[in-house]
Symmetry: C2
């Protein structure tokens, strides 16, 4: 087992000082060609690579960015992460990934852990619990310490920082407008409780689209489910109870489940009832029929978040100007709507 070699080893071996080695490996003009050659050859032979940790300590820069997401088994977050990772890697950054599991405590613990020097900045989407508690002190502290922070998707107005979101309202608006143009009249919305920033926005877009097209907004056509787990019974009852010819769902799971339910009752999609779901994940693509989806452009979102963060990290200025980037959604038409 050949131990990792350090400057000190090389110096000792070649009977020169550590700083000579350091300079030689940086091809400094100060060092004579002879010694440089000798040192570089030796370093190459023993495959010398500077120790990242030592460099981090010296530079007070880790070249790591911390990403905290509610859950990784969630296609959307996964695509965002991919966007982050790609961009960050290209810029020479590594990504430390933590999951909050939708838990406030885990979010706090992970953040505090990483904030103690392990990372140069954070990219995160708030956990459900955090949004419910509406407690953002951990974010505030991090911000106060001067650690850059970018929020995406699940954001809050309470914190001043860079943000990336999709235009959730516009996405819902587009979807409902499509339903209306297809001749649908009884348009339902299946969503989560309002403590999610995204749900609020989508509900707004849903309502606005109806009103703008002179259709009534009826509360009984809106089903709000608590938390992210799927209450299948509630969805089934809702679909059985109300007279509906189109459904907008704030996530794929709700949509897929709903489609299965109405299909099992013998309804035909999209003839009798049509569906649009947010996210455009893997389920939308492979369901039968394919689910028309509001694409959230996760990968792009991640790339932008990473870009914003690294920009802040590497900028010397002390100015505190924050941007919120809003990405427009795209409707990806599939078999669940008339196209």
């Amino acid at each position: 087992m050949k131990q990792k070699i350090t400057l000190k080893h090389i110096a000792r071996e070649l009977s020169v000082s550590i700083s000579t080695v350091s300079k030689a490996l940086k091809n400094s003009e100060e060092i004579s060609k002879d010694t440089k050659d000798k040192i570089q050859a030796f370093a190459k032979l023993y495959n010398y690579k500077p120790n990242n940790i030592a460099i981090s300590l010296k530079n007070r820069r880790t070249k790591n960015i911390g990403v905290i997401i509610p859950d990784i088994v969630h296609h959307f977050f996964t695509t965002v992460f991919r966007g982050i990772e790609n961009y960050a890697n290209a810029k020479g950054y590594n990504v430390i990934l933590c999951m909050s599991d939708e838990s406030f405590d885990k979010e706090v613990i992970n953040m505090e852990l990483l904030a103690n020097g392990s990372i140069d900045g954070f990219i995160m989407a708030l956990s459900a619990e955090t949004q419910i508690k509406n407690d953002y002190n951990h974010l505030k502290e991090v911000a106060e310490q001067g650690i850059p922070l970018v929020l995406f998707d699940r954001i809050t107005d309470e914190i001043e920082c860079d943000k990336v979101v999709i235009n959730d309202m516009e996405g819902a608006y587009k979807a409902v407008t499509k339903f209306i143009e297809d001749g649908r009249k009884q348009i339902a919305l299946i969503t989560t409780e309002d403590y999610y920033s995204v749900s609020r926005e989508r509900a707004k877009g849903y309502k606005q689209a109806l009103l703008d097209h002179n259709l009534p907004y009826r509360e009984n056509l809106v089903l709000k489910l608590p938390f992210m787990d799927v209450d299948e019974l509630a969805i089934n009852e809702f679909l059985d109870r109300e007279k509906i010819d189109a459904v907008l769902c704030v996530n794929e799971i709700y949509a897929i489940h709903s489609m299965r339910h109405v299909q099992s009752k013998g309804l035909s999609i999209p003839k009798d009832i049509s569906f649009i779901g947010f996210t455009d994940g893997i389920l939308s693509k492979y369901s039968t029929p394919g689910l028309t989806a509001v694409s959230q452009h996760g990968e792009k979102m991640g790339a932008i978040a990473a870009e914003m963060l690294i920009e802040k990290i590497e900028s010397e200025k002390e100015e505190e100007t924050y941007t919120t980037t809003v990405l427009d959604t795209t409707i990806v038409a599939r078999g669940s709507t008339n196209n």
Copy 2:
């Protein structure tokens, strides 16, 4: 912006030495109660937390583990990662995640980057390209440097290290046996090329199960697709060409696509033809009908991998004894087979 506070700051502020502060915060017996109280109070007030990087440098331990997987937008890897993260976090480790994108070069680059002090050990699944090239020098070097390594799922015999896999052969065997017990005779296999360790094993199990039940192994009932992307045409032609009443697929995508295709031809699942797919991901659960699946227990796999790695990291011994843990699969029965 209140800067992160260090021992030095506290020492200067309270007019004591740095080492006194250090000891006081560790509640050392050497320090008088008075000074301890004073220092601890001050530290608490300014929310002092030791700098991880400095500690890493001192201890030559980062408490980070590096995970390299081919792709994160892949439900199975995602579940494994979750298992890793949970276990690692509980043990006080952070996880640095890199994607190889199935590319040999990215795998090498990422590994070398992290190996220079950023992590205490690796957990990884080999990229497709690496398996095709059959070149594992980057792994060997890491091993020689004494950095612990655990391979999971996509492994190789070329490297001596801890490994975790599922019993792919047994999984396929079970699936085919189930088909046979359900009275199926024309059992097909849709798989990837043999350079994947997992594909080889599954093909073996498929063949063995047929032979053990006195059914012929017929090459024309086995479709081997190159790489991981889905050649839909090839699958369609295969399904149209051969007389088949059951299909085992090595992943969900193949299975879901195949199901859609035969359904579009008017066949009924599972009456006319039945399906089993490996992985038991989100698609299996939400397809219509639900896809009977060979569960790979990703989360458990991740937890075990993390356990093995941390065990090696924290063990003082120099012994080089490696284990390969083989997890048994479970068949999760759904609507795509007779149950």
